[in-house]
């Protein structure tokens, strides 16, 4: 194990009192990133020990995001080529264009987020937590393609500091930091994020292809919100060749991610299923008025609904933790998202707000179920 030796040799310099102890938390992060740490929590009282530590479990989420990410990159290029009227057959070209658009965003998101996390961990003399590995890849996937990098950096810094670190870091946050990033962008820079006409890249990476000025395509949700007919077929919205946030368009790619997550036991299938049930029920009860060629179930395929249900609502930190509570939590997310979409024309996309809202209520749901369980048992014991 060459790498292991190198790390072991470097260790003394980074430990307390060593020459490079200022970067100790960074070294620790790298070491536990490559190798499972030797020390685990001490066994005290009733505990369940699992062989998988949180860095490994976090990695499954990143793997599950890859299909959606790759398709998102391809779709950026495809939408760009449609916009400028260029050839749309060239899959490789489309993908490379999207890759070039995506990479700076991923780099900025990780650099800013991890930079802040490492600085705070070093200041508090703690380890760097691994939660940001997922947040850092989620953030670029839920922002518009043409979002300037400095705005992305500001929003990421805001979310990491105010949604996560002030609450005590990974595992303590009330809100999902990636969604807070998007909410910050949404309210602070509404011109970038309004969700009705988004997100075909215009002229930021014009070194690769020709540019279009002032072109913006309407998303299906934007058309619905404005009461216009939807110009995308159900098949388009399922495959994902529509304008939209980078990761959210393809239901198929998200479904692959969902299978990986459920198979690995990372995400709760109860939350995913109940979110879709809640959304479907509400979409059936509450159709858009005057949208003829738009079936009620297509609500679940457009916008960020599927992406939010699979990758955002299932975040184990901010979701409900009681098993029955997960059904309620998911159901209300799905229902709220559709209600916001249909009833509030100011917010064509309701998924982000629905999940953030239910993040607040998750502890309350848990409390009710735990309390009712206690009462039930107390009654049984009293008999």
């Amino acid at each position: 194990m060459g790498l292991k030796k190198i790390l072991d040799n470097m260790k003394p310099a980074f430990s307390e009192g060593g020459k490079l102890s200022a970067f100790g938390s960074l070294f620790d992060a790298a070491e536990t990133f490559f190798f499972v740490p030797n020390e685990t929590a001490k066994v005290r009282g009733a505990q369940i020990h699992d062989a998988i530590d949180s860095k490994r479990s976090i990695f499954f989420v990143v793997i599950a995001l890859i299909p959606a990410l790759l398709f998102g990159m391809y779709n950026i290029g495809l939408q760009h080529n449609i916009a400028i009227g260029a050839c749309t057959e060239d899959i490789c070209g489309c993908f490379l264009y999207g890759l070039a658009a995506m990479l700076p965003k991923i780099v900025v998101s990780y650099a800013v987020g991890l930079g802040i996390e490492v600085a705070i961990a070093q200041y508090k003399k703690e380890e760097v937590h691994e939660g940001f590995f997922v947040t850092g890849i989620l953030i670029p996937m839920i922002v518009p393609v043409n979002c300037p990098l400095w705005i992305l950096a500001v929003a990421t810094a805001f979310a990491v500091i105010f949604a996560k670190e002030v609450f005590g870091g990974t595992g303590m946050n009330i809100f999902n930091p990636a969604l807070v990033t998007r909410a910050f962008l949404f309210f602070a820079y509404p011109a970038m994020m309004s969700g009705d006409k988004v997100w075909v890249n215009e002229n930021y990476i014009d070194c690769i292809n020709g540019t279009v000025d002032g072109y913006s395509a309407a998303t299906p949700l934007g058309q619905l919100g404005a009461g216009e007919p939807v110009t995308y077929s159900a098949m388009d919205t399922i495959i994902g060749t529509i304008p939209g946030s980078i990761g959210e368009t393809s239901v198929i790619a998200i479904a692959i991610g969902a299978i990986i997550l459920i198979w690995a036991g990372i995400a709760s299938w109860k939350i995913i299923v109940s979110t879709f049930v809640g959304g479907a029920l509400m979409a059936y009860v509450l159709p858009y008025s005057g949208a003829e060629n738009f079936e009620w179930w297509e609500q679940l395929t457009v916008g960020g609904f599927a992406f939010g249900a699979v990758f955002m609502a299932t975040d184990p930190v901010t979701a409900a933790r009681t098993e029955c509570g997960k059904y309620i939590y998911g159901f209300l997310i799905g229902a709220m998202a559709i209600i916001i979409r249909v009833l509030n024309p100011g917010f064509p996309e309701g998924m982000m707000l629905a999940i953030l809202l239910m993040n607040v209520f998750a502890p309350l749901i848990d409390y009710c179920f735990v309390q009712s369980n206690i009462n039930k048992r107390a009654k049984r014991a009293a008999k």
Binding site: P148, W150, I151, V154, F162, F184, F187, A188, Y189, P190, A191, M192
Partner: protein, 209 residues
Amino acid sequence: MSLFSKENGEVFKSPLNLNNPVAVQVLGICSALAVTSQLKPAIVMGLSVTVITAFSNVIISLLRKTIPNRIRIIVQLVVVAALVTIVSNILKAYVYDVSVQLSVYVGLIITNCILMGRLEAFAMQNGPWESFLDGVGNGLGYAFVLVVVGFFRELLGFGTILGFQVIPDSCYMENGGLYFNNGMMTMPAMALILVACFIWAHRSINKEQ
């Protein structure tokens, strides 16, 4: 006891920093969120509160031995209400546009916790001069937070300071730059976060609290 003794200096200085009504006692938050979207109303509001706190403190301090204990709150309210009405009318007469911007919040100074707090906690027990210093100190302590929050909200939310364009036009996205005003700064939610940041910085500097 001389007018500018050490104790009196302390009475004046402590609410400016270590006993700041907003940052330490966390009073008067509602108006701090409502009026600070721009710097000018924040300054006017801070000064109005300073004047009202100072003079209501003096008046109550003069009356403190004659006010029956059971109706003291009513008496305090009458004094504050009279002063608020005077200040509100002065604002309408001389800075009408700001007074329109502040709208109900001038009238709502009457419900500002800082005022009632100082009357109850200080003016009812101390002489007029100390009460005056205490009122001015607390008012300025409040005004200071408002000005800091208003400064950042106006700078980041509108790109102006006191109405003057600070961020050059050419930086904006419409004109080919990369800059956007932060719309969230114009909302009260962001004011709350800014006040929190102020408190954070204040506590980090004054560790002994």
